[in-house]
């Protein structure tokens, strides 16, 4: 029995929505990062699925880029976060508002 591609896409959309809601409602920076990862991987799933459906490698190629960028982003983001925690003793993104106009 094969799982139809629609199922993968539905799963992808569900994961992306979960990630989006997470980014919007959670205040802890770490959770925010995890939610972003969730969104990225939801997109990855959609890429792979569609690559398979269309028999084209472009989608799979894009996934590699997304993975690399995600890794880099996490490295930079977490190091910034560590510094913020050291100076301000918090990772609550609502309290980190130095750039308020």
């Amino acid at each position: 029995m094969t799982v139809p591609p629609q199922a993968y896409l539905v799963l992808s959309a569900a994961l992306f929505t979960l990630g989006t809601v997470g980014v919007l409602v959670r205040r802890t920076a770490l959770i925010l990062f995890m939610s972003i990862e969730l969104m990225l991987n939801a997109v990855n799933l959609a890429f792979v699925t569609l690559a398979r459906v269309h028999g084209h490698l472009g989608g799979q190629l894009a996934v590699f880029f997304v993975l690399v960028v995600a890794a880099v982003e996490v490295v930079v983001g977490l190091s910034i976060l560590v510094h913020i925690f050291r100076t301000r003793d918090t990772v609550d993104v609502d309290e980190i508002d130095l750039l308020r106009g």
Binding site: T20, V23, L24, V25, R27, L32, V93, D94, I96, D97, L98, L99, R100, G101
Partner: protein, 618 residues
């Protein structure tokens, strides 16, 4: 003769200026002086060579054509230099007198910290003046004209930390601007009429029988160019900058504001002689009266000046008036003869005055000088020779040229002649007055200990003194008037001058009377009261007050008006209103920048949704 001489004549002093300007600080005083003097000496030797090359009667003007400069429509201007008898004569005066004054400056400026800057300017001036006189077309001449104006400004304001010097430089520049604007208009009009700016082509177009002779536009162009000449040569009504220009170092006054630059206006009329000749009555009705009037006016004002250099400055204005008078009565060789002798004796007078200043730490006030002649016999002798030559006492140089101008004025019109003779009397009077008050009588400042000038200053004075004595014989009839023969081809037909013994005798009698009256009135350093006349003369016949009311005060009022209303309430107000509006707009939208990451994320999401919705629903 080769044409290459021309660019070298201009280039050598220019190279001196570049050398001293770029490396003057590292050459030391001796090196700076050597570079400056030798570059001018080399130019002088080249000019002598050029003059000898032009001696054979059949040699035409030699032209050096450089690169093309302007090519717009019909206007094609090349960097053309022209060696003809007139330009070479001026080049000889500029480099010869210029070299002597360079040498004199070595002593005069010895203690000045800005030695290199001084000689840079002086060399630059020499190069600019040579460009002016050697120019082959009017636009190149204009470049030289503006460059000498710039050098004049720089050297008048050489001691710019003195407010008076800075103001004098500015005044010279601004007054000259008025004349230069007219010059430029005249240049444009001339091009419109003739279609060329080249002197040779102009002369060909305006030759006898040319269709443009007597064209009214030509008269207007000649008038405008003459306005330019009055600015540069300090004639009425643009004379007022020259007395103030005496704020500059004295050798500068001798070179630029007596011997060379101020004669550029005379040279301009001589160079454009075909234009002025073809322009109808401009010479007769404008140039000659302006010259005669200026000569008389400046001579009378010189009588009451207390500053020795200002006496000489008004005297220069007056003598330049003589030159324009000579041009106006169709005797250009007489004008250029007087230009040459005037360069000798006026430079001598200035150098002698500078020598007094040098010895007395800048003291130049005739009320405080006196008896200086005993301590400075050589300077005294130089000044006396210069003053007698200026007065027109035979056989000194000034006599020959002035006598010729008087004769030409007599042939022109009795009124002009009367003004010229009256000027001759006043000239002899004020020259004697200055000599007596400065050098004779009791010493009025017991603390002063004058000393004779050092050799480096004395030698140039001695050479100029020799020229001021002997230079006049160049134009004497009984030695064949070689000077006039030399200039003959330039002004063709105006070379011969009717020797009128009567005017010569009259001139000498009047000059001797002036000397005698001056010596008697001021015997023992006396100064008569003169009553109301003194006020009139010191006020320059009311012209000073008139200019103040007509130009200076309205100008200041206009400036204040513009500063307070147009600038403050117009331009400034517009700028600050605009700035305030931008600041308010910024203040309104700054609240959008909350600093809250989750709100930004919501914004991104909303944007993405909108774009996506647009794609799907369109």
């Amino acid at each position: 003769m080769e044409a290459w001489v021309a660019p070298w004549l201009v280039g050598l002093p220019l190279a001196g200026a570049l050398g001293n300007g770029l490396a003057g600080g590292r050459l030391g005083k001796r090196g700076t002086a050597l570079v400056a003097c030798l570059s001018v000496l080399a130019a002088f030797l080249l000019a002598v060579q050029a003059a000898r090359g032009l001696l054979p009667a059949e040699v035409p003007a030699v032209r050096w054509v450089g690169v093309e400069w302007v090519a717009v429509g019909d206007l094609r201007v090349l960097w053309t230099l022209q060696l003809d008898r007139l330009s070479v004569l001026l080049a000889l005066v500029v480099t010869g007198v210029g070299f002597l004054i360079h040498v004199y400056s070595v002593g005069y400026m010895a203690d000045d910290p800005d030695y290199a800057r001084y000689f840079t300017y002086l060399n630059l001036f020499t190069a600019s003046m040579l460009l002016l006189v050697l120019a082959g077309n009017l636009l190149v001449l204009f470049v030289g004209w503006e460059l000498v104006g710039l050098c004049s400004y720089l050297l008048i304001g050489f001691w710019f930390e003195r407010p008076a010097a800075a103001a004098a430089g500015r005044k010279a520049f601004v007054v000259n601007r008025v004349g230069d604007a007219a010059f430029l208009l005249g240049l444009c009009l001339l091009f419109t009429l003739l279609g060329t700016l080249d002197f040779r082509e102009m002369a060909n177009l305006l030759r006898d029988g040319g269709t443009l002779r007597g064209h009214p536009g030509l008269a207007v162009a000649a008038l405008l160019l003459f306005c330019g000449a009055t600015g540069k040569s300090a004639q009425l009504p643009l004379y007022s900058w020259l007395p103030d220009a005496m704020e500059g170092p004295t050798p500068v006054s001798a070179l630029i504001h007596a011997a060379t630059m101020v004669t550029a206006g005379v040279f301009l009329v001589g160079r454009l002689w075909p234009v002025f000749e073809a322009a109808g009555q401009v010479l007769h009705w404008v140039v000659a009266p302006v010259g005669a009037l200026t000569a008389l006016f400046a001579a009378t004002v010189a009588v009451v000046q207390h500053d020795l250099k200002r006496v000489l400055a008004y005297s220069t204005i007056s003598q330049l008036g003589y030159m324009f008078l000579a041009l106006g009565v169709q005797a250009p060789p007489a004008a250029f003869f007087h230009l040459t002798t005037h360069a000798f004796f006026k430079a001598l007078l200035f150098l002698a005055a500078g020598s007094v200043m040098h010895a007395l730490h800048g003291q130049i006030d005739l009320r405080r000088l006196g008896g200086v002649g005993r301590a400075m016999p050589l300077t005294f002798l130089g000044f006396v020779v210069g003053a007698l030559s200026l007065s027109g006492i035979p056989p000194l140089a000034g006599f020959w040229s002035k006598e010729e101008i008087l004769g030409a004025a007599y042939a022109g019109s009795p009124a002009l002649w009367a003004a010229a003779v009256a000027t001759a009397f006043v000239t002899a009077y004020y020259a004697t007055r200055a000599t007596v008050l400065a050098f004779l009588g009791p010493a009025r400042d017991p603390s002063a200990h004058p000393h004779e000038a050092p050799p480096v200053m004395a030698w140039p004075m001695a050479v100029l003194g020799g020229l001021a004595v002997l230079g006049g014989f160049l134009g004497a009839q009984w030695v064949g008037a070689p000077f006039h023969k030399y200039l003959d081809p330039v002004f063709g037909g105006h070379g011969e001058h009717a020797a009128d013994p009567w005017t010569a005798v009259m001139g000498v009698a009047v000059a001797s009377a002036g000397v005698a009256v001056g010596a008697w009135v001021h015997r023992g350093g006396r100064e008569p009261h003169l009553g109301a006349l003194r006020g009139v003369l010191e006020g320059q016949w009311g012209l000073e007050a008139l200019y103040d009311r007509l130009v200076v005060r309205p100008g200041r009022a206009l400036a204040r008006l513009l500063a307070e209303s147009v600038d403050a309430r117009g331009i400034d107000a517009a700028a600050s209103t605009l700035a305030a509006a931008v600041a308010r707009a910024g203040g309104a939208v700054r609240t959008w920048q909350t600093g809250n990451v989750r709100q930004y994320a919501a914004g991104v999401l909303a944007g993405a949704v909108v774009v996506f919705a647009y794609w799907v629903l369109r």
